[in-house]
Subunit: 522 residues, 2 copies
């Protein structure tokens, strides 16, 4: 049974145990089909230590829906839960509860509203809103968080690396350093967030993309061990892949051996009517080596030949490489901007693991319960104001200023509308005294961020394809202020509440405090 | 096609593209079945920033072997590769190469030697040695690194947290913050490394373990939203789970509301003949709250009731909690050691993501090639001495000193033996001048670390079960010096070479340097 190769390994049981213990409790109380609403949101941007995100790119929704469609409470699932015992030795789960799960254990009763994949998102704004029967909404919590937390984290990192690359291309190379099978979700998220291709063949197949790669050091090493030379390895590669010849040039010595050998092979290729694709640098001072390699390639008549960089890259390293090239390339007679656009970045470990902040703290909080046909807002009061949830059924609008830039996300009650509201009042989520007032005349547009994607057991619109997701991302990132896109200490984007949502929050908090005070004086 | 629910998604193509382009190149040269040897090892312990590992716990081997057994080059795989084109528009892969993969694309020709799971391991020591036909050894590189890098990383973190807990129990709670499906491998590794249980139901099923959990804040919140109180939620839980009653007490206020309500419910339970299981604290100063909660439970007659802590824990936080309890508990009349043993730790994000160092830099390097029936050692020369590989077919011994503690791992040539060697000479891997000499009389034992686990297409011994892996880990950790186990700035364990391996390395490096020099003067 101890094998990851079964449907049950990633199906209905791919959730936390307490979802089932809570579900049975609700079932015993006859509350398991009570309608509830949960918001899924994150509380802060990734902080990588030496640099910080000022926006995130939402990703993972399609695979959550996929999980909802494919996961069933079948025999394997039932057998496991039926075998669980309490400390008394009795079965932990009642047969009748398991019968109910066998019959009703699917997600057809769930309604899912979500911010689309590829969109720019910010803290405290619900990325998904799950409405439906209590027991199934609980079971869904863990897989939904698992998928969207991680894919959003990686899509965000990819977008940052792409921005640092200033026109260079990003390639995802992280399969060997990922959390096992999570590599596929990570590569997909990287593609949504900014990578053009991935080296991961299985995931490329799923995305209907060509997989990318060159050759490893081992190929050159092998030739050396057999008494041949680096150039023999290069020639062999060029022979087999004359139109896709990309050579890794740092196995022996990049500038003394690798680049000169590559150029000789490229000249031979050209004589046979083929244009070389490029070289890859995987060690050393990548900025300096790029400049020198570009100069050597230019001088040899290969100004269009690409240069792929790899070796522990992330947005900060890429930014430093680009900056160093800008400053130093002219000194060697190399056009810096041309060189920068000529570069590609193969990013492995630090993209797929979101180095510096390897998990997004997305949470799933109860915000409303339907009782006697009326939705009652729920709140979680905590010691810190920032961790208090926004109660009730809600809407989210993105507000664009007169330049067409996104200036704030505004969270309000579901029954609110912005039609005719002038001026717009934006309340700070923790401090009602901090309000921002925007006259309607200086708003170029507003749009609702949440859209309904799943109801009645089916998808309400086809999933956008990868190219659409990328367009969504580019459009959204373009509409961010430069300050928000800054690599370090970005400007904080405004996420605000409508006055009515703020009032509801205050009322509920006051009621909580009152309840607690009564308790203390009991 | 864009769905993670297919066998192809994690099968033979779950590798990097360059493995296939290199494989075809070797096939074209008739070298694809040439026998080669690759070592898989990591170069440095995880450094979490504020603390550092001084040893690792090896994990992931069983799932690698599982992948080798189940992955086939079938139709889906073939169709994808056959559809790949070069820049000229021609097919990238030749039909005859794909025919060969269809026929021979499995791992029956691979021989795998490995350090057992659960064992303590150190940098530069091969965790696995892959011997076999070149093309298939390349395809295996990525999935092998993917699996063992990650599981070793998490098993290591789990072992560190368990050590910090000084007798407390570790529970793995990270499913929602993992890299998607990698959560299962992460939970498994945590179980090997030190966790007693996990909340992940699917993985618990695979490991034939009960899954653990309590209830979430949402349960209490739901009761509150419906006009009921925290104690009603607790009573409902106790009613359904009288013998497994573990209550989350921080939804409203831990000491004012949660603990007193839990105690009332525990008293009611006891009157009905059931003993409560415990409480969970998920926010605030966990050390202080543990002491106060323990005092309240003790005074109410529940000195055996457990206390589960959660909320962004890792080895450093656990160590601080334990230290603070040691210092402060006596002041409140609470026995610190008793309280420390009474605690359990539910660790999520920071265990499954290996917070601070989210990837282990394990690499896979060519060390030998068989040419004309003779193994030729291969070396990768790099700018830095530390990154130069250890060439050739090798053996690894662990040396135990007179106290029975592991004092060094010694890497030597395959044909070497330690029988009758006195004294043992250990050479520093980068600096031959640094030698350590150990008289045989002060060695209590030596053991070979690598064992053959896979050959001829089958497993040579059954995989150890979880309890055996845990015993292996406990035994190995017990045999480490306290200095090596230290949470911060641990003492560096010796990994050394035999003089003969050192001599081979020096010869090969000299030959490389000579080759390069000839090149420069050409």
């Amino acid at each position: 049974m101890n094998s990851p190769y079964s449907d049950a390994a990633y199906g209905f049981l791919f959730t936390d145990m307490y979802q089932f213990t809570m579900a049975q409790l609700y079932w015993r109380l006859g509350m398991h089909e009570k309608q509830v609403q949960f918001d899924h949101f994150f509380r802060g941007y990734p902080d990588y230590g030496s640099h910080q995100a000022g926006y995130c790119i939402c990703a993972g929704l399609e695979w959550v829906v996929d999980w909802m469609e494919k996961s069933r409470f079948g025999e394997a699932e039932r057998d496991y839960l039926a075998a669980q015992t309490s400390r008394s030795g009795d079965g932990l789960f009642q047969k009748e509860f398991l019968d109910w799960l066998s019959k009703e254990g699917d997600f057809s009763g769930i309604t899912l509203d979500a911010v689309g994949e590829g969109r720019v998102v910010h803290p405290d704004v619900p990325l998904t809103v799950v409405t439906g029967p209590l027991a199934m909404a609980q079971v869904l919590e863990t897989p939904l968080l698992n998928q969207i937390n991680y894919q959003t984290l990686v899509a965000t990192k990819a977008s940052r690396i792409l921005e640092s690359a200033r026109g260079g291309m990003l390639l995802e190379f992280g399969l060997r350093r990922a959390q096992e099978r999570g590599a596929n979700a990570g590569a997909r998220a990287a593609l949504v967030g900014g990578a053009s291709f991935t080296s991961n063949v299985a995931l490329s197949r799923m995305m209907d993309l060509p997989a990318k790669g060159t050759h490893g050091h081992s190929m050159v090493q092998l030739f050396l061990a057999l008494g041949a030379e680096e150039i023999d390895a290069f020639r062999a590669y060029a022979e087999v892949y004359p139109d896709d010849c990309l050579l890794l040039v740092d196995t022996i010595d990049t500038l003394q051996s690798g680049v000169p050998n590559a150029i000789r092979v490229f000249e031979e290729l050209r004589r046979k009517g083929h244009e070389p694709m490029g070289i890859r640098l995987d060690s050393g001072d990548l900025a300096y080596l790029s400049i020198q390699a570009a100069r050597m390639l230019d001088e040899a008549g290969f100004p269009e030949t690409g240069i792929v960089l790899s070796n522990n890259l992330d947005e900060l390293v890429v930014w430093q490489i680009v900056t160093q090239i800008s400053e130093e390339a002219p000194r060697y007679g190399v056009d810096a901007d041309r060189l920068i656009r000529r570069l590609s970045y193969g990013v492995g470990t630090r993209l797929i693991s979101s180095w510096g902040e390897p998990a997004l703290g997305g949470v799933y909080k109860l915000v409303a319960v339907k009782d006697k046909n009326r939705w009652k807002p729920a709140i979680k009061r905590t010691e810190t104001a920032e961790k208090t949830t926004n109660p009730g059924e809600k809407k989210v609008w993105r507000i664009y200023d007169s330049r067409g830039k996104a200036t704030a996300d505004l969270i309000g009650l579901a029954e609110e509308s912005l039609d005719g509201v002038d001026p717009l009042v934006l309340v700070h989520p923790e401090d009602a005294a901090r309000r921002r007032t925007i006259p309607a005349a200086s708003i170029s547009g507003t749009e609702e961020l949440l859209e309904r994607v799943w109801a009645g057991g089916r998808l309400l619109r086809p999933h956008p394809d990868l190219e659409e997701l990328r367009q969504t991302r580019r459009k959204d990132v373009d509409r961010l202020d430069a300050g928000v896109r800054r690599l370090m200490y970005p400007h904080i984007y405004h996420v605000s509440l409508t006055p009515r949502l703020w009032d509801l929050k205050r009322e509920l908090l006051a009621a909580c405090a009152e309840g607690l005070k009564n308790k203390e004086t009991e």
